[in-house]
Symmetry: C2
């Protein structure tokens, strides 16, 4: 079902290229274009079956586009939105895939003016891997996509963005950019920090203990393999919410440490059980969403 | 290849039953016996193809055993070792599967006297699931097993234990009980604490955010689904090392928080990169050990 004449994806990395592949699979756009800064990678991208052509030139990339997806690192999205703002076709729909939303949606709303529209998105389908070599036409399927319109955003544009992600098989929820940034600070950025700081600590103190590791350490630290540069920018952009989440979390780990220090089995069990209750809830939800897991 | 006339496994749960299944698969013991406190579960266990008979009576369970594996929760192992000490056949080899080793190995050495021998083991092949319903004949394959003899332990007995776990397809490393407890405090107990305290925190503060979660939260928190009662005992038994590990870890998370609070991209990147280096090392090791992953 064709929704767009031309989709242009900025940054055909893991996520951007997966969007193009899924659009190709579902036939959602007649023409599939990418913008890629690096000429060598642009050429490689042009050779893929799911990409008609990749440009290094911004104006060529957006010429004729009626749908634009910014899938570049979060710290580059605002600049790119400002750059394309003056040149896009009237009526063009613009979204992004950034992990933070307050700044991007505010700036996007100003940069992309009616009769074009910017509506922020966050398809939560990352991986610790990066680059279009790891992209896939099914990466987004069954995953959550958060769509974050502003109160003043165009309703029809929001509906079309929701419809687009749903057409790629995603479960879409709409919420405000602020609620989004608060939520992901807790359920995405905080887990990333725990995985990274655990690994950073083990790197400083370790004999070759990693040779004894089991699947617990493996799974708990998987996302520490994510690109540090991307995550540095995400954490800085969502700094206020992440600092709040960290403060709350540190209370939780301190309460366990105190229970252990005081040799208090009941208090220790209480924290572990509380964690267990949440994990059960999460597990039931995951299994409900993906019965194949 | 038959190594023993009769193996008796105390506590045929996830790990204990997986040991029996693997022993059955590899033909390592002529007779496979279990000790299970609960009569109903003992009956269920007796009906499995990998168990000749399960007793609720300790003396019946160890009569004729020349190899005994304690696979009960860590806080019950020492008591059980003391109980069987006076009744086992001369020459019987005894080991355990507990996640802590200093206390168990000290007490085990005193309870099981020459010409019988106790050598501690820690097959690192847990899961967040428990119960023999989740056991499997391949759970142990390719996994790490730490064997922890004391300086005064019988060398032939140690060699036989090493040989046993290797025969089940495990990668065995010998180290002292103290070095073991220090290592697992960092690479097993600390990850468990992070997963549990993250979930405990999210349980206290959350709107239904878990509905937005991606694979990052799922993997980072998987082991928070482990039985709280078992983990309470493990953490208490390894209290000193775990408190040291926690203290070190909290410095790592605080240094990231400070970098973020001070808006210091270079410092933030340094922590994330350090974590990334360790994770890469761990990942290479895991792939080297299990090329199929």
């Amino acid at each position: 079902m064709q929704m767009f004449k031309q989709i242009t994806v900025f940054g055909p990395g893991l996520l951007g290229a997966s969007v193009l592949q899924a659009v190709h699979k579902h036939g959602l756009a007649k023409r599939k274009v990418a913008w890629e800064r690096d000429p060598k990678r642009a050429k490689l991208c042009s050779e893929q079956p799911w990409c008609d052509v990749a440009f290094t030139d911004i104006s060529k990339a957006i010429e004729s586009a009626d749908f634009i997806v910014m899938a570049t690192p979060v710290d580059t999205i605002v600049d790119l939105l400002r750059k394309i703002g003056q040149h896009i076709q009237p009526g063009t729909l613009v979204t992004d895939t950034g992990s933070t939303k307050v700044l991007i949606c505010d700036e996007g709303h100003h940069a992309i003016q009616d009769p074009a529209h910017f509506i922020g998105s966050h398809p939560m389908a990352g991986s610790e891997k990066s680059g279009f070599e790891h992209s896939s036409e099914t990466l987004l399927e069954g995953r959550t996509c958060l769509v974050t319109p502003l109160p003043q955003s165009d309703e029809a544009a929001t509906e079309k963005i929701v419809h687009f992600w749903e057409a790629l098989g995603m479960q879409v929820t709409c919420l405000s950019p602020l609620a989004h940034d608060d939520a992901v600070a807790h359920i995405s950025h905080l887990p990333q920090i725990l995985a990274s700081t655990l690994c950073a600590y083990l790197e400083t103190c370790e004999p070759p203990w990693h040779r004894f590791s089991g699947s617990g350490l493996r799974d708990t630290t998987r996302i520490a393999g994510s690109p540090p540069d991307l995550w540095k920018e995400i954490l800085l952009q969502n700094r206020t919410h992440v600092l709040q989440a960290l403060e709350g979390y540190e209370k939780s780990i301190r309460s366990l440490r105190t229970a252990l220090f005081e040799n208090d089995p009941a208090k220790l069990l209480k924290v572990l059980k509380q964690g267990n209750v949440y994990r059960d809830k999460l597990d039931r939800y995951i299994k409900h969403q993906n019965p194949s897991l």
